[in-house]
């Protein structure tokens, strides 16, 4: 077809897998994927990790990651199959015709060179611009995507600008060589929600104004929906469904897409406040790492037995530090942490074994939270032996029971963490926390590293376990959807201080303080046109801009 910029036909990409003791074998990671893209159109690619979305994205650059090979199909751009390019033609294609915007701008920029040098490099070597022209064009682009002081912005080094600005500078770099297609590979995933919204808006405006086609890759359907005309849902390297954004949001056909769209829509009813004194109380807690700069300032909050307190805020807001204070890892400078009516000693080493047992913690990265050289039996069984002296058959029985509680069978007893999937690992960490029979579990971003559907499963599990064991959760997260789904009360934190704290219904319903308003309104919603409305209605600038 003549009016299609891109036609992809039966793209097949395979990866070689090397297992110790086995012959290397091929795994298909992209399986006969076909699509077309018109000039100026944006196609969103969505799926969980391992769905093949990034692999398709880099295939547009006629590139396959180390160990992967493009084994079949065509990727036709402007009537020519880019997969056949070699030598100089290939060099011209990469960066010249197709540009790539990576997830981590901080890792993608060379910290030793000024931004200008890096932004214009491709435009000079691949386009036909002189250095002066390219620099002038770069300034134009900086202004276009809303970077401050466009005349001098490029004179800075990457570490001198914020994460959101850097991500926009990378978009400018991609635009600088006037490509036909830009591949955006999770460009906003590493950013805070309040920053993400501005970057999204900048990307969308740039794509529209320059009439560039784009592949927009993300695992977050709501984000993809804001910038894409059409969306392709991928799973295990195969296409599940493709349709217009409107259609995917409002009328998904396949079961998998329906699950993605309806995620976290069932909300736990809020437990009303009781008159019983709180299980855990923070009173005017202030702490710093070096004794000069307070990272947590005058924070007070309460957690009742059997309830969930969500601590929400963006990176640097002090929410994880608050958890470290409660755990005794960072002794507070001022204020008290009161547990069951008695103040907890600030230092971990001064706390009794019983005090340590009653507050357990689950981490974001289940991978590093478990000793890779211990079996699941030992990982879950150790707290039982350590706190209760349980051993032998009794311990075996209890570990098996816990495994059943987290919906895993006894066949996992002898496995090592590396033999589990991401969701299973996090479940084992939950079981380890439960093995100590605690009153409180601190959950530090426990679902952030998981794929949406897996995260959903882990949240459901946490809720069920709370009903069964009456454990209280202190749930640290940046994700408002999760907060909505599981919390009874909410504490909003910003730059180390407490913005507000209260019951879920109080916090989530207006009127809000300006920061809560900004945070709540920055969470992408699964409907077309949300981005424009949100930008329109904003009352406060995000700090990370």
């Amino acid at each position: 077809m003549a009016d299609n910029l891109i036609t992809v036909k039966d793209l097949v990409i395979k990866a070689k897998v090397h297992r110790p003791g086995e012959k290397p074998f091929d795994v298909t990671i992209v399986d006969k994927v076909s699509f077309t893209l018109e000039k100026g159109e944006v196609l969103g690619l969505i799926g969980e990790s391992g769905a093949g979305k990034s692999t398709i994205g880099v295939a547009a650059l006629a590139y396959a990651r180390y160990g992967c090979t493009i084994t079949g199909g065509q990727f036709i751009l402007n009537g020519q199959d880019v997969l056949e390019y070699i030598g100089n033609r290939l060099l011209q294609h990469r960066g010249g015709q197709v540009a790539y915007v990576a997830q981590s701008a901080a890792a993608a920029f060379n910290p030793a060179h000024k931004l200008d040098e890096q932004v214009v490099e491709v435009a000079i070597t691949k386009g036909d611009m002189s250095r002066t022209e390219a620099l002038a064009y770069a300034r134009e682009l900086y202004a276009k995507i809303g970077l401050p002081d466009p005349e001098n912005f490029g004179q800075r080094y990457p570490h001198q600008v914020s994460g959101g600005q850097l991500q926009r500078a990378m978009t400018a770099m991609a635009l600088a060589s006037r490509p036909d297609l830009i591949v955006f590979d999770e460009p906003t995933t590493a950013l805070d929600v309040t920053t993400q919204i501005d970057v999204l808006a900048a990307i969308k405006e740039a794509i529209n104004d320059f009439g560039i086609s784009a592949l927009y890759i993300s695992h977050d359907l709501a984000v993809v929906g804001q910038v894409s005309d059409r969306i392709m849902v991928l799973r295990h390297g195969k296409m599940v469904e493709m349709g217009t954004t409107e259609q995917i949001f409002n009328n998904p056909q396949e079961e998998y897409t329906k699950e993605l769209v309806s995620i976290r829509s069932d909300i736990k009813p809020e437990t009303p406040r009781s008159d019983v004194p709180a299980l855990l109380r923070l009173e005017n807690v202030t702490a710093s790492y070096d004794g000069t700069l307070d990272v947590v300032k005058n924070v007070s909050m309460e957690l009742e037995a059997g309830q969930t307190l969500a601590v929400v805020g963006e990176s640097g807001s002090g929410k994880s530090t608050t958890a470290r204070i409660i755990m005794g890892l960072l002794p507070q400078r001022e204020g008290t942490v009161i547990f069951n009516g008695d103040p907890l000693p600030p230092k971990l080493s001064s706390r009794t074994k019983e005090q340590k047992r009653q507050i357990q913690m689950i981490y974001q990265m289940a991978d590093t939270a478990m000793n890779p050289r211990q079996t699941i039996r030992d990982i879950i069984g150790r707290p039982m032996t350590f706190y209760f002296g349980t051993s032998g058959k009794e311990r075996e029985r209890k570990v098996t029971e816990l495994l059943e509680q987290i919906e895993m069978g006894p066949e996992f007893l002898n496995r090592f963490p590396a033999e589990l999937s991401g969701g299973q690992k996090q479940r084992v960490c939950i079981a380890r926390a439960l093995a100590a029979d605690p009153e409180i579990i601190i959950c530090d971003e426990v679902t952030s590293a998981l794929d949406p559907l897996v995260a959903e499963g882990v949240l459901q599990l946490l809720l069920r376990l709370q009903r069964e064991t009456n454990v209280a959760y202190l749930f640290i997260t940046h994700d408002i959807a999760t907060v909505r789904a599981i919390s009874d009360s909410i504490a909003v934190m910003y730059q180390g201080g407490l913005v507000e704290v209260g019951q879920k219904s109080e916090i989530l319903n207006p009127p809000h303080p300006p920061y809560t308003e900004l945070l709540l309104s920055s969470v992408p919603e699964m409907r077309v046109g949300w981005l424009e409305e949100a930008i329109e209605n904003r009352t406060m600038e995000a700090a990370g801009n």
């Binding site: 090397h18 971990l348 340590k356 990265m365 478990m370 000793n371 050289r373 150790r382």
Partner: protein, 272 residues
Amino acid sequence: MSFARASFTAKLGLIIVIFYVLVALVGPFLAPYKQSDIVGGVWEPISAEFWLGTDNVGRDLLSRMIYGTRTTLFIAFLATSLSFSWGILTGFFAAVSGGWIDQVLSRWVDLMMAFPTLIFALVVLSMVPINMTTLVLVMATLDSTRVFRIARALAEDTSVMEFVEAARLRGESTLWIIFKEILPNTLTPLIAEYGLRFSFAVLFLSSLSFLGLGVQPPAADWGGMVRDNALGITFGRTASLIPAAALAILTVSVNFVVDWLLDKTSSLRKEG
């Protein structure tokens, strides 16, 4: 273990190392003569009676080589094992404890490392009676500073992992954290390092013996044998080259094996 797919050099290295160990273990029972018996003339050439000839006072060189292998490997093995026990324990302890304990231990090690090892050993050994115990202790003490540095670095890497923090939060003792959480995760690089330090120990002991402050005559060891027969070179006698060659071959072979071990670890790391 996929030793079948290991490189040729790794296989060769391992076979040679095993041969040395066998000689050290059973060799003396098979040796034709006692190590200090004078059985022939000075520097007799290779013959059916003396397979490797005789040395500077007419002792059978083959027998002395066999006894020398046992002495050299045994002392090096003891010294390396001791230095690893000390080095790992103190290194891990410094990393896990942090703070002033780490500072004191680390600065002490810096101080020890500021002395050239050979000179330090010579000074100490010229003041104390030289026997196997003092030799092993001096070598282990000097070597343990190197092990300390490596063990501490490895433990620092591991102790920032969240599973170690989880163990701390649980209230586990420092010993549990060292032996159950950190040691299993640092074992492979440490084993490779053990091999390297072992071959250094062999060389170090031989240097000491060559200088006369190592294994004392009439007991045989490689360094001492090189010195005893060194004068023979002038007369075209090759007796001193044989222990020297044994030393070289062992060192190279150990390095082949260590290379293979390190390759294996790094490929495991790559696969995550």
